[in-house]
Subunit: 373 residues, 4 copies
């Protein structure tokens, strides 16, 4: 019988649903060294959190994260709340020696992010940040191709994460467009994914130039309301970036790209080949290998048993969905906990990511290139 691993999840909305599903599914499809147990879900609204517990299959629910993270029987704290609460939850969880999985961005400010990193280090707990797109099989495959030299020296990274859900001016001022809660707009929410992928695939960013833009400056406080509240975050974040390696790139996030729903695309050009990926077709990796006149971008359907993570799923060509980037994330977290190793991406990555976001924000203000600290 496998040893149990008791999970407590804080937050139960969009990310809570995705994480719950991952915890529920992981042992059905993969050999996990420990058996995750969905112990308790935590939220402020009792009725809603109760409903969520039942819906997603958590054994218990609670309205006090403080109590939950202090519970003896909890092994892992999974933080799915907005960025402004990541710090206090992490501090408490770390003090209680829990392994921590935290949604991105790690925090709304660098200072907070660094406090969080210090806390997990000081308490020597396992920590991971949920940049789940690293574990889309096609993306992990991209990394393998880079690692094995298939792309040669990398020249370019071109990352765009495009959505369109804010184009409609009637969309109300939800928390994701409120600076106090979300920290920033498209920058922290989606461009941060592109930043993480660039770090995963190309390396550290050293300098940035940028432009943050808000197209619609106020929105209804509620759906249908005529009372307006200011939008104090960016609708779009555009940047030029220099990598430590000498590669150069563009990173853009926008919620104003009409027709693009979840278009998290990157293209990487190297001296021997190139790759391109788009989250809307997440089972596919475009790969160009320079081999003369009959070269061409090929569509690798990353669904073979030998492809990253796919062995757990279905026969070739039977594609998987968005949700399993989380399943693969918790799989590797469980393994890391079993081996008592710090997985990647972890809070170090979270801090580094935050520093890039911070430099982008500074550069937008200073109107000049800014170094990433």
């Amino acid at each position: 019988m496998k040893k149990k691993l008791n999970i407590a999840m804080i937050g139960y909305k969009f990310m809570g649903k995705a994480h719950s599903n991952a915890w529920k599914q992981v042992s059905r499809f993969f050999e996990t060294p420990l058996e995750p147990v969905m112990k308790v879900v935590c939220g402020r609204n009792e009725e809603q959190v109760k409903e969520a517990a039942q819906r997603f299959g958590w054994q218990e629910y609670s309205t006090s994260w403080e109590e939950v993270v202090a519970r003896k029987d909890i092994d892992v704290v999974d933080i799915c709340t907005p960025g402004d609460s990541h710090l206090p939850i992490t501090l408490a969880a770390a003090e209680n020696k829990k392994a921590i999985l935290c949604e991105k961005p790690l925090a709304n400010t660098i200072t907070e992010a660094e406090q969080m990193l210090a806390a997990v280090k000081q308490n020597a707990v396992i920590h991971m940040i949920c940049h789940n797109y690293r574990r889309v099989p096609a993306v992990t495959l991209a990394r393998q191709l880079i690692d094995d030299g298939s792309l040669g020296e990398i020249f370019h990274y071109r990352g765009t994460y495009l959505q369109d859900w804010l184009v409609n001016p009637n969309v109300p001022r939800v928390w994701r467009v409120e600076k106090a809660k979300a920290g920033s707009g498209a920058l922290g929410d989606i461009a941060s994914h592109s930043v993480d992928l660039s770090r995963y695939l190309v390396g550290e960013i050293t300098e940035v130039a940028s432009l943050l833009k808000t197209f619609i400056s106020e929105r209804p406080v509620e759906p249908g309301s005529s009372t307006m509240a200011p939008v104090d975050v960016d609708d779009a974040a555009l940047s030029l970036v220099k990598f430590d390696s000498g590669a150069v790139g563009t990173i853009e996030g926008s919620r104003f790209a009409t027709g693009r729903k979840n278009y998290n695309r990157f293209e990487i050009n190297g001296s021997r080949g190139s790759i391109a990926f788009n989250l809307e077709r997440l089972n596919e990796l475009q790969f160009y290998s320079e081999e003369g006149a009959n070269s061409g971008f090929r569509t690798i359907l990353a669904t073979e048993p030998t492809h990253p993570y796919f062995g757990g799923w279905w026969p070739p060509g039977h594609i998987i969905g968005y949700e399993h980037s989380f399943t693969h994330t918790v799989l590797d977290l469980i393994k890391a906990i079993d081996e008592q190793k710090i997985p990647t991406p972890n809070f170090e990555d979270g801090v580094r990511n935050q520093k890039v976001l911070d430099a982008i924000e500074r550069a937008s203000g200073s109107q000049r290139w800014e170094a990433v600290d």
Copy 2:
């Protein structure tokens, strides 16, 4: 508290895994009127079925389907075995008044299929055949577009279901290429899906011409073995079809289409528009609406809350996988059981599908057009 619905599943391999997942997931993402309970999984090999029960989350396991289908506490029998056993299981399950979900093809012969249909009718039990691709959101959307007249009068159906797993002559003679177990090859396994989709979207097929082809006539009995066994099924099945409506079409299944992994594609052309779909990009529907010079095939990402079934899942652009065609199937079966209505596709559809397959087989032999009975 929702009423329970106790499920027994017979068979636990590829389809067993997919069905188990569907039963496990359906209530997490959809409001089901009844709560499915994964009661018992059944198989001949005790060790394996025990492992499957544990892996997939079935409460019990059994090596006797005869006992299982007779159990008082079982409400639904879900048949995931090869085609040669569908008849006896169905007869017993129907006699015991169980609702039945049966994998396709309904049976290996028309006679068997008709016996099965007679049994479920006589016993007045709910019956459904698992042609799951009808419930891929983009496919259900295709049907909606046809129903609302967006395509006008339909002229053409062009269905190809292409795979390539048999191109390698070292692939052994598994049950899927053994006539006694599988009934036929590409015809019953994959072309049958294309037949079902054509019936769902265009209507009844009345006549067929065809060509069944076996490219490799013997295969190793086991992986690596030098003992060969004859392949007595088709590697590829090609047909021309006439629909009752006056539309015409081609339907082809092949396991010899190198590079095509699960390329279940159809295109339908009507007087006002056209649609095209490919299972390898199952979240997308290509739709052409005739509206003058600036018309064009558009890629509908069938991931909006208003699209069929997608409301249960994720925000727009966050694509789902192959497996959820099963989740949607069991969702509708549960609803049908609750309402005591026969869902579609059901055993009638199974028989009709079988008759088309039979006509294709006859036409290949007679070298002429054959009517579907």
Copy 3:
């Protein structure tokens, strides 16, 4: 100074325009051993043929093809008229020892086609049929890949030539839908291209089953007229084919595929790889080479200097248009004339193509498989 090659073209509509352009362009972009001179264009309507001569750059015009093909100074007769006039023009041109380029289909009946072949053989003149798509660079490249073994043994040919210009019932009964002039409908006009490509790439077709369909049985005699004339040709032609090599396939032509404008697509699957091509993206060849998990269909942009014919044009990635399939055709005809060799495809191919079309027509009537004579 290069020797001149005097051309006479009969017919000046769509194909006349395309051929004129080819004769005009070929020496600008390629080294031709002879210098083609656009001597005379011929048609029945004096005003129109005069205008065409001026527009397309022919030195003279004539309303008598009989006179033209008898002229001493003419070296090549280029036949761009409807199929019903190909025979008499060919007979006269051959007798006058002219090299002949003839538009496809070679004739409206096999008997006529065979008479034409006999005439060019008896008179020992150079002859070529204008199946221009063989000389789209990507298609010629496809042939090279097959010839060098990149596809291995070929299993499948899947050819569809789809257009939609007849979906509108107000389109009048032009000559292309009149059996007396065009011989057949989609079959001879477009499916014949797909037949030719299959012969070029896979080999001879030995047997066919088929279905010819007319969706709209009468059309206005003139645009806007309320007087109707019967449509006595097929709107769509569907067939199953067996190749001499053991490969099997489908070939379909339709003018009722709404949204498809010039969708001349084929896919070929072999034991080592596959290719796919679509005339609407004629600079691209899809190529799959089986090389393990990271295989995938690659898009070869057939615009490298080393690709067939492309060296004459532009730098890589600067795509060419439909019209240059004709330029490449007359280039090779000029070379063949210079070397006094019979090029391909020639009237032998024309006859063979016609025999396949004839078998398709017979099979549609007999409702059974028919051998190609």
Copy 4:
């Protein structure tokens, strides 16, 4: 009989070939109010220019542009030389009251560009800059869609012009990588096209941030030589741009994007819709029109008779090539000369384009946002 328009072309390499073809073809496919006559081609190397005259169909050749532009019988001077000679030729041509078509970029410096503009204005001659991609039918269609409001308010422009011909370090230091001749590298050669398209489609750029990068700093002086010469231009030019309208964008040109041959792509997102275009598939325009759940990016095949310029060519779906962007350019120049109107883009556009390039170059040096003068 149409009035003649005598053309003199200076330069006969890549652009000379493309322009020659345009002059040769335009009257074959379009009704031109004047009849262009390919009078004289001019170059420094007598042997080569003679060969070019013959090849491309110019009546005469000359080695002195000074003489040519002074000839009484010349109406139009078409400048196809590298950027460093545009100024003197323009000054002389303008003084001689010739209409001028000049290849882009207008000049290597703003000062020169402004002198050129002053000269054509002072002499009141017709002037046009050859930003030929504005007249790809799909691009002109894009402009029509923007003009008719189909995109609503524009938020984003995303332009990338990617090639890969310099990735190979053995490619010698041709004039295109020599600052003295070319002015800049990817910036002036290809990013300048993207700048022009952004101005054509979105409007004036007011500020830029940028990054110019040289990946390979020296190259062989000749193919195969071991003597190296420094590369003093950019291999890649990346920029962020702000438009006068409030739209924001990225513009990037690179010759180091392995696998991209002539990937001149742009995407524009507006409040009501989006468009995307890629020169490698130049007959297609991607268009998204916001109309609810069944919206999607559609592929408009810009080959209908009603599409810009296409009426002169072939039936729908019969695609045209790169070269005809030039044919359409000289068509509109001829019309402008006939009507004595200044066409667009003209030298004003050339100067404005130059100013954007200059700002990009300054911004790369200053490491901050720079205003476009």
